[in-house]
C-alpha cells in the first residue's frame, strides 16, 4: 500500500492528482468492461442458462428497442413524477416539522416515544392499507413514498437544529435577534448540511419506494412494466429495466451529491474536502 506524501510544490501535486484521476478512470473502465465481458461469456458459453441470464448484448439490444418505445419513456416519466412529488412533500413536511420540534425542547421530549415507534415501521407495511383507502392509483404510491422519505429528512433536521452552538445561540439572544432573524442567520446555516444529507438519503429511498409501489400496488410505471415482463417470462426486458432503474438511481445519487457540494461550498465539511 502506498500513501501519498504531501508535497509542497503545487505543480508536482497537481500532476500527481491528474495521474490519480487518470488511473481511477482507466481502472474503473476496466472494471466495467470486465464485468460486461464476464456477463456475456457466462451466458454465451452456457455456464448459466441463457433463459435465466440473457447475454449482455441481447439485454442491451432489448434496452435499445425499449428506448425507441414511447410508452417506455412514459413509464419512466410516471415513475419519476411520483418520485419527485413524493420527495418534495417529504422534504417540505420534514423540514418544517423537524425545525419546529427541534427548536422546542418541550415538544421534542413529548414526541420522542412516538417518533421512536413510528420511524422503524417499514413503509411497505402500509401498502395494503393505502390500497384499501386510495385504490390502485398514484396517490396510494405517494403515501408510501412520503412516509419512507419523510423520516430521513425529519431526523436529520432534528439533529441539525440540535447541533446549534450554545454560545452562538446565547449570543444571538443577548443581541436581541428576533425569532425570524435567529431562524435565518443561526438555525438555517447550522442545519443546512444536515438537511442536505437528509434530502440526499430521502431521494434514494423515494426512488426505491416509487418502484416498489408500482410493483406491488400496480400503478403504471417502470415497476409495473417490470412485473408484467417477468410474468410473461420476458427476461431481456426484466434485465433492461433493472439496468434503467440502476441508472436512474445513479443519476439521482450523483445529482444530489453535486447539489450538496454547491449549496454547502461555504461549509467546512466541503471546504476541508477540497483542500485535502
Amino acid at each position: 500500500m502506498t500513501t501519498a506524501t504531501p508535497t509542497t510544490a503545487s505543480t508536482g501535486h497537481r500532476r500527481r492528482r491528474n495521474l490519480g484521476t487518470l488511473r481511477r478512470a482507466v481502472l474503473g473502465t476496466i472494471g466495467v468492461v470486465g464485468f460486461l465481458a464476464a456477463w456475456q461469456l457466462l451466458s454465451t458459453l452456457r455456464i448459466i442458462n441463457p433463459e435465466q441470464l440473457p447475454s449482455a448484448t441481447d439485454t442491451f439490444a432489448q434496452l435499445g428497442a425499449l428506448l425507441r418505445d414511447l410508452e417506455f419513456w412514459r413509464n419512466i416519466g410516471r415513475t419519476m413524477t411520483a418520485w419527485a412529488i413524493g420527495l418534495a412533500i417529504a422534504t417540505l413536511v420534514g423540514t418544517v416539522l423537524g425545525t419546529v420540534v427541534g427548536m422546542l425542547p418541550f415538544v421534542r421530549r413529548l414526541t420522542h416515544t412516538m417518533v421512536e415507534f413510528l420511524r422503524p415501521i417499514p413503509s411497505v407495511a402500509f401498502i395494503p392499507l393505502v390500497i384499501l383507502m386510495l385504490g390502485l392509483q398514484m396517490p396510494a404510491a405517494l403515501v408510501i413514498i412520503v412516509y419512507a422519505s419523510f423520516w430521513q429528512v425529519f431526523v436529520q433536521v432534528l439533529y441539525g437544529v440540535a447541533d446549534i452552538d450554545t454560545v452562538a445561540r446565547d449570543t444571538a439572544r443577548s443581541f436581541g435577534l428576533t425569532r425570524a432573524s435567529q431562524l435565518r442567520n443561526l438555525v438555517l446555516p447550522t442545519a443546512l448540511p444536515y438537511l442536505m444529507t437528509g434530502v440526499r438519503l430521502a431521494a434514494a429511498v423515494a426512488l426505491i419506494l416509487a418502484v416498489t409501489a408500482e410493483m406491488t400496488i400496480g400503478n403504471p410505471g417502470l415497476g409495473r412494466q417490470l412485473t408484467l415482463a417477468s410474468g410473461i417470462g420476458n427476461y431481456t426486458t426484466v434485465y433492461a429495466i433493472v439496468i434503467v432503474t440502476g441508472l436512474l438511481g445513479l443519476i439521482i445519487n450523483i445529482g444530489f451529491r453535486a447539489i450538496e457540494r454547491r449549496t454547502l461550498s461555504w461549509h467546512q465539511s466541503v471546504r476541508g474536502d477540497v483542500a485535502s
Binding site: 481502472l27 476496466i30 435465466q52 384499501l132 419512507a148 433493472v242
Partner: protein, 274 residues
C-alpha cells in the same frame, strides 16, 4: 495527554428524584396515551371503515399473532431477517475491509459498486426468483442484497480514513498483518461501520416485508396482504403494529450492541465535550 474530569455529585433529595422520574415517564408516554384515547373515542363515536378502534386492534393482535401464526409466520420471517442481516454484516465488513485496503481493487470496482448500490433492491426480486425459485434462500438473498450496501460502503470509508500516523506507527513497531487488522483497522473503522449497520437494519426490515409480498404463501408480509385482501382490517393493523414492534426491538438490540462495541469511542467523545 491525561485529562481528568470530575463532577461533584450532590445527592438528589428523594422527593425530587421521584418527581423527576414521574415527569420523565409522563413525557415518554403522555402523548401516545392521549392520541390513543382520542383515536379510541373518535373510532367509537364515528367508526371509520379503515381505522378500527385501538382496543379492537389489540384484541386482533392477541388472537392473530400470539398463537400458531407466531410459529408459522413470525418466527420464519424473523429467522430469514436475522440470517440475512448476519450475512450482510459479515460479507459487508470483510469485503469492505479488503476493498478499502487495496487501492487498485477499490478503483477497479468503484463504478460498479456505485451502479449496483443505486439499483432499487426490489427490482431484483424477479431476477432472484428465476435463479433460486420462490424459496427461503431467495428471500434471504433479496434481503441481504438490499442490506449489504450501507455496511460495505461505510466499512470502505472507515478503513480508508484510519489515522495515517497510527498505521505508520503500527508498521514501524512491526505489528503483524492480523494484529494491524484486528487491533487497529477494524476498531478505528468501527464507528463508521456501526453507523452503516444501523442503516442496514431498517433496510433489511423493509426488504423482509417486500420479499414476502411477491409469490409468497407465508410470513409477516404475506399475512398483512392476505388480511387486506380478505378485508380483515383490524388484523391488518395488528400486523403493522407488530412490524413496528419488531423495528423497535431491532433498534434496542442494536443500541445495546453499539454501546458495548463503541464504549471506548463514546468515552472519548464525552471527554472531548467536557
Amino acid at each position: 495527554m491525561t485529562l481528568y474530569t470530575s463532577t461533584v455529585r450532590t445527592p438528589v433529595a428523594k422527593s425530587r428524584l421521584w418527581a423527576k422520574i414521574g415527569e420523565n415517564t409522563l413525557y415518554a408516554v403522555g402523548l401516545p396515551i392521549v392520541l390513543l384515547l382520542i383515536w379510541g373515542v373518535v373510532a367509537s363515536v364515528a367508526p371509520a371503515k379503515f381505522f378500527p378502534a385501538p382496543q379492537k386492534i389489540a384484541v386482533a393482535f392477541s388472537s392473530t399473532w400470539l398463537g400458531e401464526a407466531f410459529i408459522n409466520d413470525v418466527l420464519p420471517s424473523l429467522a430469514r431477517l436475522s440470517i440475512a442481516i448476519i450475512i450482510a454484516v459479515i460479507v459487508g465488513i470483510a469485503a469492505g475491509t479488503l476493498i478499502g485496503l487495496t487501492r487498485w481493487l477499490r478503483e477497479l470496482l468503484e463504478p460498479l459498486l456505485e451502479f449496483f448500490r443505486a439499483i432499487p433492491p426490489p427490482v431484483l426480486i424477479p431476477v432472484f426468483v428465476v435463479f433460486l425459485g420462490v424459496t427461503d434462500s431467495m428471500k434471504i438473498v433479496v434481503i441481504a442484497f438490499g442490506a449489504i450496501w450501507p455496511v460495505l460502503l461505510n466499512t470502505i470509508e472507515g478503513v480508508r480514513s484510519t489515522d495515517a500516523v497510527m498505521s505508520e506507527t503500527a508498521r514501524s513497531f512491526s505489528l503483524t498483518r492480523s494484529q494491524r487488522l484486528f487491533d487497529l483497522l477494524l476498531p478505528a473503522a468501527s464507528p463508521r461501520i456501526m453507523a452503516g449497520v444501523r442503516q442496514t437494519l431498517s433496510v433489511a426490515l423493509i426488504m423482509m416485508v417486500i420479499s414476502e409480498l411477491f409469490y409468497s404463501s407465508a410470513g409477516l408480509g404475506y399475512q398483512i396482504k392476505y388480511f387486506q385482501q380478505t378485508y380483515l382490517i383490524a388484523e391488518m393493523w395488528s400486523g403493522i403494529v407488530l412490524l413496528g414492534l419488531i423495528g423497535v426491538l431491532l433498534a434496542v438490540i442494536f443500541g445495546f450492541v453499539e454501546r458495548r462495541v463503541l464504549r471506548w469511542y463514546h468515552g472519548i467523545k464525552e471527554v472531548e465535550r467536557a
